[in-house]
C-alpha cells in the first residue's frame, strides 16, 4: 500500500499545526463559529447531535495493521472506546472534544493518516473498490489512480470553496463495488481498442434528495491527462454550479440542467485550454505510485477447505470472495452481528482485526462502503484459524450481502440532520430475519437505510431501501424497491405511504415473501422485482 514520503508527511504535519492554530483562535474568540465551521469541516470535525464528531479519511478504504491499531487507540484515548465505519469507507468518532482534536490529528499523522477534506464543500476522500488488488475480475489495481487524484485534490487552491461537496470514486473492473455512477465523478480504468489503458469519466451522479445516475461524458481519457481532465470537470463546476440554493448545488444538478452534452462541451473546451498549462504530473509519477501497490508474495497452497464444520463452511461460502491468486481469498469481517449496530467496532475488535491482518493478510485491511472490513489476501489454508478467532470475538457473522448485512447511517441516534432513527430499524430487521430463518432462502438482498433524505445510508440504491422521515414529530419510514449501486445501477421506487418503526419491519418481510413466492430459478430479489414490477409488492403491502 501507499507509504508517505517526506513531502506527504510534511503536508500532513503542516495541516495538523494549521488546525491547532485555527482551533486555538476559535477557543480564544478570534474566529466566529461561522468562520470556523468551514475550516473545521475541512478537517472532518462536525458539531453533531451529542458532541463534536470527527471523520477520519481512509483513502480508497485501504489501511494497514498499524493504522488500524492507531484507530483503536484513538477510540480509547479520545472517544468512548469505539468507532463507526461509514459508507464513505471512513471511520467516525462520536464524542470528540474540540480542545483535544489537534492532538488526535497529530496521533493520526504519526501513522500517515489524517482527516483532511472528509467534510466541507471540497473534494472529499476518494473511494474505490474494496477488493482492489485482490479481485479476480479487475483490469488493473485502481488505487494508484485514486492516490494520484488524492494528492491532486488535497489542499487544492481553486477547489476548496466549491458550491457543494464533491465525491470521486475510481474502479477498474466491469463489476462495480464502489457505487461508481452514484458519485460526482466516477472513473473506470478501461482499455481502448488498441489495448492502451485510460479512464472513462462519468460525471453528475449522486444520491441525496435528487438521486441521479452519472452519464458517461468521455469514454477514454489517456492516463497522462487524468489530472488535467479532472481539473477541467471541476473548473466548469466551480464556475457554473448553482450557489443560490444548497439543495441544487451538487454537480448532478448542473449536468442535468445544462444537459450532459453541453456540460461535456464546456469541459472539453476547458480541457483543451488546460492541456497547455502543464498541470499534469508525468507518467513517471503514476509508475512510482504503482510500485506501492505491487502484489504481496502470494504462496501456492491448498485451494479447498475442510467443510466438516457447517458453521465454518457457511462463513466460507458467504464471506469469502474469489481472489486473483487461486490459493487465496478475500475474507469479509462482518460488522453486522444480529441485532448489532451496523459499522460499529470496539477498540478491542479493531485491535484484533489489525492483528489478524498482520498474521493472515499481508498486514492489509480494507473498509467496505457496506460498513464491513476486508482482509484482502488470506491463504485458503489459514481460513479455519482465522474464522475461529473471528467467531470467538463476535466478528464471525456469516451474512455478507444477505438481508442481515444492512447498511444504515447513524440516523437520529447520532446525527443532527436526521429525521428518524436508522440503527434500531436495522437491528429489528436483522433480528426478525435471523429468527424467521428466511435469510438463506432470500440470498443476495441488499437492504439500505437512511435516516433522512441526504441518503448517507444509500437507500436509493438498495434492492430494498428504507428512508426515515419526520411525520409531525413522529418517526415514519418509507419503503423503496429496486435500487442497485452495482454495475446494474438503478434508483429505487417508493412503494407508497410510509410505515411506523414496527410497521416497516413487517413491510420488509412482506416484500421478501412476495419475492419468495414469485421468484423463478436463480433469480435474486432484484431480478424478480425487475421482471414482475412493483405492483405485486404494492398489492401485498397495501392490499
Amino acid at each position: 500500500m501507499y507509504l508517505y514520503d517526506k513531502y506527504d508527511q510534511a503536508m500532513v504535519d503542516a495541516r495538523v499545526e494549521e488546525f491547532r492554530d485555527q482551533a486555538r483562535r476559535r477557543l480564544e474568540g478570534k474566529l466566529t463559529e461561522d468562520q470556523f465551521k468551514p475550516l473545521r469541516l475541512m478537517n472532518g470535525l462536525y458539531l453533531q447531535l451529542h458532541a463534536y464528531m470527527l471523520r477520519v479519511a481512509i483513502p480508497y478504504g485501504t489501511l494497514n495493521g498499524a493504522q488500524m491499531h492507531a484507530l483503536a487507540d484513538i477510540a480509547d484515548k479520545y472517544d468512548r472506546g469505539y468507532g463507526h465505519f461509514t459508507t464513505r469507507q471512513n471511520i467516525q468518532y462520536n464524542w470528540i472534544k474540540l480542545e483535544e482534536a489537534a492532538d488526535l490529528l497529530s496521533d493520526l499523522a504519526k501513522v500517515e493518516m489524517h482527516a483532511i477534506q472528509t467534510s466541507g464543500n471540497c473534494i472529499r476522500n476518494i473511494s474505490s473498490d474494496h477488493f482492489a488488488g485482490a479481485a479476480a475480475d479487475e483490469l488493473v489495481d485502481p488505487r494508484p489512480y485514486a492516490e494520484l487524484l488524492r494528492q491532486w485534490s488535497s489542499f487544492h487552491p481553486e477547489f476548496s470553496y466549491l458550491p457543494r461537496k464533491f465525491k470521486i470514486a475510481v474502479i477498474a473492473s466491469d463489476k462495480d463495488r464502489a457505487a461508481m455512477r452514484l458519485h460526482d465523478i466516477g472513473i473506470r480504468i478501461v482499455q481502448n481498442e488498441a489495448g492502451e489503458p485510460g479512464a472513462a469519466f462519468y460525471v453528475g451522479g449522486g444520491m441525496g434528495r435528487t438521486p441521479m445516475i452519472a452519464p458517461c461524458i468521455r469514454e477514454f481519457v489517456p492516463l497522462d491527462q487524468l489530472v488535467t481532465y479532472s481539473e477541467a470537470c471541476l473548473r466548469v463546476y466551480n464556475r457554473y454550479g448553482r450557489r443560490d440554493n444548497k439543495y441544487k448545488a451538487r454537480i448532478k444538478i448542473l449536468v442535468h440542467e445544462l444537459g450532459a452534452e453541453e456540460y461535456t462541451r464546456q469541459v472539453e473546451e476547458e480541457f483543451a485550454h488546460l492541456q497547455q498549462q502543464g498541470i499534469e504530473p508525468p507518467l513517471a509519477e503514476l509508475e512510482r505510485l504503482k510500485t506501492y501497490f505491487a502484489d504481496p508474495p502470494f504462496d501456492d497452497g491448498p485451494k479447498t477447505v475442510d467443510r466438516s464444520d457447517p458453521d465454518f463452511a457457511l462463513w466460507v461460502d458467504r464471506n469469502t470472495i474469489r481472489h486473483k491468486h487461486d490459493a487465496h481469498v478475500s475474507a469479509v469481517i462482518s460488522l453486522k452481528p444480529i441485532g448489532g449496530i451496523p459499522g460499529d467496532a470496539s477498540a478491542d475488535q479493531m485491535h484484533l482485526m489489525a492483528e489478524l491482518a498482520k498474521q493472515y493478510s499481508f498486514d492489509e485491511l480494507r473498509v467496505m462502503h457496506t460498513q464491513n472490513i476486508v482482509l484482502p489476501h488470506v491463504r485458503i489454508a489459514d481460513l479455519p484459524a482465522l474464522w475461529a478467532r473471528l467467531d470467538e470475538a463476535g466478528l464471525g457473522a456469516p451474512n455478507l450481502d444477505t438481508i442481515e448485512d444492512i447498511i444504515a447511517c447513524p440516523g437520529l441516534d447520532y446525527c443532527s440532520l436526521a429525521n428518524a432513527r436508522s440503527i434500531p430499524v436495522a437491528q429489528k430487521i436483522s433480528e426478525r430475519f435471523s429468527a424467521n430463518g428466511k435469510t438463506a432462502a432470500l440470498g443476495e438482498l441488499k437492504l439500505k437505510i437512511s435516516g433522512c433524505i441526504n441518503a448517507c445510508g444509500h437507500h436509493h440504491a438498495g434492492h430494498i431501501g428504507i428512508l426515515g422521515v419526520d411525520k409531525k414529530g413522529v418517526e415514519n419510514y418509507q419503503l423503496l424497491l429496486g435500487g442497485s449501486e452495482a454495475e446494474d445501477v438503478a434508483l429505487g421506487k417508493i412503494t407508497g405511504p410510509g410505515f411506523s418503526e414496527d410497521g416497516i419491519v413487517d413491510a420488509v418481510e412482506t416484500a421478501a415473501d412476495v419475492y419468495l413466492r414469485e421468484r423463478s430459478d436463480g433469480e435474486r430479489f432484484l431480478d424478480t422485482y425487475r421482471r414482475i414490477g412493483i405492483d405485486p409488492f404494492k398489492e401485498a403491502l397495501y392490499g
Binding site: Y7, A10, D21, K30, W152, E158, F159, S160, P281
Partner: protein, 141 residues
C-alpha cells in the same frame, strides 16, 4: 475599509475599478471589478489595457473568484489581481496560489496570523498560478 496588503512593487492604481459590464461598454478604464457571476474570460481580449483587476468575494464561501483569478493568470494577465471583500486569513495562501497578489479584506487581518498562514505550507501538490514547484515535479526532477 481595511488596508490593502500588496505583494508587488509597482505603484497601485489610484482610481476606482469599474464593473465588467461598464468596462466592456466604454473600454478605456484600466481597473475593473469582477463579481462572482461575471465571466472573467470576457476580459481576455483587453488584458494589455488592464492594470488592476479586483475580484470581489461578497461571502467567503463563494469560491468562484478563485477560478476567475486562474483564468486571468492563465490568459497571461500580469497586472495587479486583488481579492476584495469577505477575505479571511485562512484563505489567503490558497488565493495567492490562484494568482492573487493583493488583498483588500473587509476586516483587517492580524499580521502575525497572516504571516503564519503564508508560511504554513512547506510544499504544494498541484501546479497552479504561482511559481511554486509541485511535489510531483520535485519527485521527478
Amino acid at each position: 475599509m481595511a488596508e490593502i496588503i500588496r505583494f508587488r512593487d509597482d505603484e497601485p492604481v489610484d482610481h476606482p475599478a469599474v464593473t465588467v459590464d461598464s468596462f466592456l461598454d466604454q473600454s478605456n478604464a484600466n481597473a475593473v471589478r469582477v463579481e462572482p457571476g461575471d465571466d472573467a474570460r470576457a476580459l481576455i481580449p483587453h488584458l494589455a489595457q488592464l492594470h488592476l483587476v479586483e475580484v470581489n468575494f461578497p461571502a467567503f464561501g463563494d469560491g468562484r473568484g478563485y477560478s476567475s483569478a486562474r483564468v486571468l493568470r492563465e490568459a497571461g494577465y500580469d497586472g495587479e489581481l486583488r481579492a476584495v471583500g469577505d477575505v479571511l486569513v485562512d484563505q489567503v495562501a490558497y488565493m495567492k496560489r490562484c494568482g492573487f497578489d493583493s488583498f483588500e479584506p473587509d476586516t483587517t487581518l492580524d499580521p502575525d496570523t497572516l504571516g503564519a498562514a503564508l508560511a504554513r505550507w512547506p510544499e504544494v501538490y498541484q501546479s497552479a498560478a504561482d511559481t511554486r514547484q509541485p511535489i510531483w515535479s520535485k519527485r521527478h526532477a
